[in-house]
Amino acid sequence: MDDTDRSTLARVAAGDQRALAELYTRHGQALLAYAEGLLGERQAAEEALQDTFLAVWRAAASFEGRSAVRTWLFGICRRQALTRLRRPGPGTVPVDSAGELPAGEPGPEAIALARADARAVGAAISALSPRHREVLDLAFGAGMSYRDIATVLGVPEGTVKSRLFQARNHLARALAPVSEPVPGPRRGWSEEEPG
C-alpha cells in the first residue's frame, strides 16, 4: 500500500493533478472521518480536508519518507483541523504522563463495556473529548499502529497507550449503571489530564 502511495506522491511532486486525485480517492474518506471526529462538524471537516490536499500539493516534493505516506497525510490533516479549532492542540501539552497504564487484573468496568449496546457506545464516543476521540479514531477507525499514532500526534508511544485507556475508562464510566455521578461531556481541548 505504502509503495503505491509513495509512487503516487512522487507523481504529485512532479505536478500531476490526477495523482493527487488518486490519493484523495484512497484516503479522503478516512481523513474526513478523522477530521470530523476532531471538529465535530461536517462543514469544517470538509474544509480541513481540502486544505490538507492543498498542503500536500505544495509540500509533496519535500516528503522525505520518514513515515508512511498515510501517516504523513493524517499528520497534515490534524494540523489543518487544529488550526480550525483555534486552540492549542494536545501535542503542545507537556504534562501527559504515560504512567497511567493499568496493571494487574482488569476491573469490572471492562465487563460493563463489553456487554453494552453498540449504539450506546457510539453515543458515548461522541461525548468524549476530541483528545480521546481522536486516539480511538486513529487506532480503530484508521487502523493505525501505536507507532504511527505517536507520529501523527507527536507524542511518545506510551502516551498513545495511556490515552487509549483513559478514553476507554471514560466510556466505561459513561455507560455504567448510574451508581456514581457520571462526568459530563467534555468537548473542548482540556489542558488538564483526567486521572
Binding site: T25, E64, T92, E105, I111, V121, Y146, R168
Partner: protein, 298 residues
C-alpha cells in the same frame, strides 16, 4: 506471559505484528480476565468503526482542483541535481534564507544595532568602540537565536526537504551573522570617519565578544530552543553592564569581563561550540519533540 493489557487495543484493532498477535491470542484463550478486557476493546473498536463508516463520502475532487489553479508552491522545490554546481546551489540556499528567517528577528536585531550605532556616533571620541562592543554582540546573539532555533512555520518544510539540516543551519548562521557583521563593519568605518583611529582598532572592541556570544546563543538555540538562547544572551549582556556599576563580586566581574574581551581563547571556545553543535546536530534533531503544532503546513 503476564497480562498483555497494553497490547489488547492493538490486538482488537488488528494492528499487532504477527508474532505479538499469536502470543496475545494464546494468552487470551487461557485468561478469563484478559478475554473480558478484549471484549470491551472489541466493542470500542466496533463502535468507532461504525462511526467512521457512517461519515458520508467526501465531496468530489473537483472542489480541490478548482483551488489548485490558484495555489502555487510557497517556496519552489529545488529541481537541480544534488552534487552538481555546488557553488550555485550554495548561493541559492543562502539567497532563500533571509526570507525564511522571520521578519521579527530582523526587526529586533535592527533596533538593537540602530540604538548602538546611533549612541556610538554621538558619543565622545574614544567611547564609540566601547558602545559598539556592548550592542553588536547582543544583536548578533539575538539574530542567531532567532535564525537558527527553528520553531518557525518554514522550519517544518525545511526539516522535510532533501537538503541536509546541517547545510540549512550553517546557511542561516552565515546569513544572520553576516548581516550583523556587515552593518557593524560599516558602522566602524563611520566611527573612524567621525572620530579618527583605525578600523582594526574599533573592530577589536566588538568582534571577539560578538563571535563568542553568537556561538553560545547558537548552541543554546539549536540544542534547546530560541527563547533560552535569547535569555542567556540578554543575561550575559546585563552582566557586562553591571560590571560597569562595580556592584558585582570580583570573580563574577572577572568572568564577565573575560567573556566580553577580544581574545584568542574566546574565539577558540566559540569555534569549538559551533563545530560541536553542528557535528551533534543529526542526533539532536531526532529528539521526540512535539512536532505538530496548530501552525503547520498551509
Amino acid at each position: 506471559m503476564s497480562h498483555p493489557r497494553d497490547l489488547l487495543p492493538a490486538y482488537a484493532a488488528g494492528t499487532l505484528p504477527p508474532g505479538s498477535h499469536r502470543a496475545v491470542s494464546a494468552h487470551v484463550t487461557g485468561c478469563r480476565a484478559c478475554m473480558d478486557e478484549l471484549q470491551a476493546w472489541r466493542m470500542v473498536a466496533q463502535a468507532t468503526r461504525a462511526r467512521s463508516a457512517a461519515v458520508a463520502a467526501p465531496p468530489p475532487f473537483a472542489a480541490i482542483q478548482a483551488r489548485l489553479r490558484s495555489a502555487s508552491p510557497v517556496v519552489a522545490p529545488y529541481r537541480g541535481r544534488v552534487g552538481e554546481r555546488p557553488l550555485v546551489r550554495a548561493a541559492r540556499l543562502l539567497w532563500r534564507q533571509p526570507r525564511l528567517i522571520g521578519w521579527p528577528v530582523w526587526l529586533v536585531c535592527g533596533i538593537v544595532l540602530a540604538v548602538g550605532i546611533g549612541l556610538a556616533a554621538v558619543a565622545p571620541p574614544g567611547m564609540g568602540g566601547q558602545l559598539l562592543a556592548e550592542t553588536v554582540p547582543l544583536a548578533a546573539a539575538l539574530a542567531v537565536a532567532g535564525a537558527c532555533g527553528g520553531g518557525d512555520p518554514a522550519a517544518e518544510l525545511v526539516a522535510a526537504s532533501p537538503t541536509s539540516v546541517r547545510a540549512i543551519l550553517l546557511a542561516r548562521l552565515t546569513v544572520a551573522l553576516g548581516a550583523v557583521f556587515l552593518v557593524a563593519f560599516g558602522a566602524s568605518g563611520l566611527l573612524v570617519g567621525l572620530h579618527g583611529g583605525t578600523a582594526a582598532g574599533v573592530l577589536a572592541f566588538w568582534l571577539g565578544p560578538m563571535v563568542l556570544l553568537s556561538a553560545i546563543s547558537f548552541t543554546m538555540a539549536v540544542i534547546w530552543r530560541p527563547m533560552p538562547a535569547v535569555a542567556v544572551a540578554v543575561g550575559l549582556w546585563a552582566g557586562k553592564v553591571m560590571v560597569g556599576t562595580g556592584g558585582l563580586h570580583p570573580v563574577v566581574a572577572y568572568v564577565f569581563t573575560a567573556l566580553w574581551t577580544d581574545s584568542v581563547l574566546g574565539m577558540a571556545a566559540a569555534a569549538g561550540l559551533v563545530v560541536a553543535t553542528v557535528v551533534l546536530l543529526p542526533w539532536l534533531s531526532s529528539r521526540p519533540l512535539p512536532r505538530y503544532g496548530p501552525a503547520g503546513v498551509r
